[in-house]
C-alpha cells in the first residue's frame, strides 16, 4: 500500500484545518505541517492543547543537528543548534529529558561530536542518542556507540522506562543494502519482540528510530525495508508513538493505535517528496529558514492513551 503524501506546505494549513484533518484522521492517514507558532498536533482525537500544561511529564526530541554542515542551506548549523537548545532550556515546566534521533554529526568526525556533546551537556538535560547514517561513517558506527550509548546492546539498540512509558531506541541506519532503505535486521527485530513480550498492552510505547518506519518516498528511500515486522510486534499495544528524524520536516501519519511523526532538523530543511530533483538540503532565505528548523516536545498525560506532540520552530 502506498500512502498519499501531502507535501509540507508552510503557511497553508491553519490550526483549524489541522483539527479538521485530525477528525478525518480516524480514516487512517493524517499529514500536518508545523510552522509559525508552536502548534499542538492532535492524536487519536483525545489530546488537547490545554492538556500540555498539565502533562505528567514531557520530553524533548531534537534531531538532525548535522554539526559540521556549513553549506549554503545553513552556514551556521552550530548557531541554530545553540538557539534551539536555548529554547529547550527556557521551557517551563522543563522536560524530563531529551532524545536525539540521529545525524548528530555531518561526517562522523570527533570534533563534530565533541561540539554537539558539549552543547547538549550544557543544557543539563539527560539525553538519549541514536545514530543517523551520518554518524555511521567511521568504523560501522563504533565510535558513535562508544561515545553516546555505551550501555546499549552490541548492535546499538536499547530500551528504557520512564513514568510508566516504555521507550525503545532502534537502529535502522546500519548495514544498509544496495538499492534499499532503512534496515533493522532480523537480530534487532527478534530482540524487539522479546523486549515487548511480557509487557502490558496498556503500557504506552515510544519508538525512536532515525529513518521513518513508514514509507514516505520509495524514490528517495524514505522508509525502512523491514519496518512491517517491527510494527507487527507493536500492534497489540494501545498507544504507540513512533518518532523519526532523517527527512528534516514534519510529517505525521496515524495507523490504528500507532502514530508516526518525523521531526524538523536543527540544521537545514529538506524538500517534500516530488517537489525537488533530490532530497538534498533546501535553500531558503534566512527568515524562512527559522520557520523550518525546530525541536519538539512530547507530553504524556496519565490516563490518556495518546501522547501530545508540539513542534517548536526556531522562529515564526
Amino acid at each position: 500500500m502506498t500512502d498519499p503524501i501531502e507535501p509540507n506546505a508552510p503557511g497553508r494549513a491553519s490550526r483549524r484545518a489541522i483539527l479538521k484533518c485530525a477528525v478525518w484522521a480516524g480514516a487512517g492517514v493524517l499529514w500536518t505541517v508545523s510552522v509559525g507558532v508552536p502548534r499542538a498536533g492532535v492524536l487519536g482525537g483525545t489530546a488537547r492543547a490545554a492538556d500540555l500544561a498539565s502533562a505528567d511529564f514531557s520530553f524533548v526530541q531534537i534531531s538532525d543537528s548535522h554539526i559540521g554542515f556549513n553549506k549554503e542551506a545553513n552556514p551556521d548549523a552550530v548557531g541554530t543548534f545553540k538557539k534551539l537548545l536555548a529554547r529547550v532550556r527556557a521551557m517551563s515546566p522543563p522536560p524530563a529529558f531529551m532524545v536525539h534521533t540521529g545525524d548528530v554529526s555531518h561526517l562522523s568526525r570527533d570534533a563534530e561530536w565533541d561540539t554537539a556533546q558539549q552543547l547538549i551537556k550544557e543544557t543539563g538535560f539527560e539525553t538519549h542518542f541514536i545514530p543517523g547514517e551520518h554518524d555511521m561513517l567511521a568504523d560501522d558506527g563504533k565510535p558513535f556507540f562508544a561515545r553516546f550509548s555505551p550501555g546499549a546492546t552490541p548492535g546499538g539498540w536499547s530500551s528504557f522506562d520512564r513514568n510508566g512509558v516504555h521507550f525503545v531506541a532502534l537502529i535502522n541506519v546500519a548495514n544498509l543494502k544496495p538499492g534499499g532503505q532503512g534496515n533493522l535486521g532480523a537480530e534487532q527485530i527478534a530482540w524487539l519482540e522479546n523486549d515487548l513480550r511480557d509487557r502490558s498492552a496498556s503500557q504506552p510505547i515510544v519508538v525512536l528510530a532515525h529513518m521513518p518506519l513508514w514509507l514516505i518516498s520509495a524514490e528517495w528511500g524514505w522508509g525502512t525495508d523491514d519496518a512491517a515486522q517491527a510494527l507487527s510486534a507493536l500492534k497489540r499495544f494501545g498507544s504507540v508513538t513512533v518518532l523519526n528524524g532523517h527527512i528534516h520536516q514534519v510529517m505525521q501519519k496515524i495507523d490504528g493505535n500507532v502514530s508516526f511523526h518525523t521531526a524538523m532538523s536543527t540544521a537545514f530543511p529538506q524538500p517534500a517528496p516530488g517537489t525537488a530533483p533530490s532530497p538534498g538540503p533546501m535553500k531558503v532565505d534566512a527568515g524562512k529558514l527559522r520557520t523550518l528548523l525546530g525541536v519538539r516536545t512530547v507530553n504524556y498525560v496519565l490516563g490518556q492513551s495518546a501522547l501530545a506532540i508540539v513542534d517548536h520552530p526556531l522562529g515564526a
Binding site: K71, L107, L137, P178, G180, G280
Partner: protein, 117 residues
C-alpha cells in the same frame, strides 16, 4: 592520489586512504589528468553505467552539498571510499575485467556500475 590497483586490493588502498585522512583533515583526492569520471549530482551517479578499458582509472566527484560514498554492492567488498564531501574526489584503477556494481552506503538508493573490459 589514491590508486586502487584493483577492486580486490581495495581494502589495502582504503588503509592508505585512511592514513592520508589521519594526517589531513579533509579527505581530498587529486583528480587524474586522464581517465573516466563519474559525477555525483542530485543523489545520482552519472553516468550510471560506465564502460572502461582494463587498466583505466575512474574518478568519482561529488557535486552535491551532502556527503556520499562509493562502496561495492557485491561481496567481497572491494570498493570502499571514505565519505566524499562536496567536491571531493575518489579514484580507482581497474586492472581486471568484470562488472563492478557499487552504491552509496549513506543513501543506498544510489547505485551504479563500472563495466571493465
Amino acid at each position: 592520489m589514491v590508486r586502487f590497483a584493483s577492486a580486490r586490493r581495495g581494502a589495502l588502498a582504503l588503509a592508505a586512504a585512511l592514513a592520508v585522512l589521519a594526517f589531513g583533515y579533509s579527505p581530498f583526492f587529486a583528480r587524474a589528468d586522464r581517465g573516466n569520471t563519474v559525477t555525483i549530482d542530485n543523489f545520482t551517479f552519472g553516468p550510471n553505467d560506465l564502460a572502461v578499458a582494463v587498466g583505466a582509472n575512474v574518478v568519482w566527484t561529488n557535486r552535491d552539498d551532502i556527503p556520499h560514498t562509493v562502496v561495492s554492492a557485491d561481496a567481497p567488498a572491494g570498493l570502499k571510499s571514505p565519505p566524499l564531501d562536496t567536491d571531493d574526489h575518489f579514484e580507482v584503477r581497474f586492472d581486471k575485467a568484470g562488472i563492478y556494481k557499487y552504491f552509496c552506503s549513506i543513501h543506498p538508493k544510489m547505485t551504479g556500475t563500472i563495466t571493465v573490459r
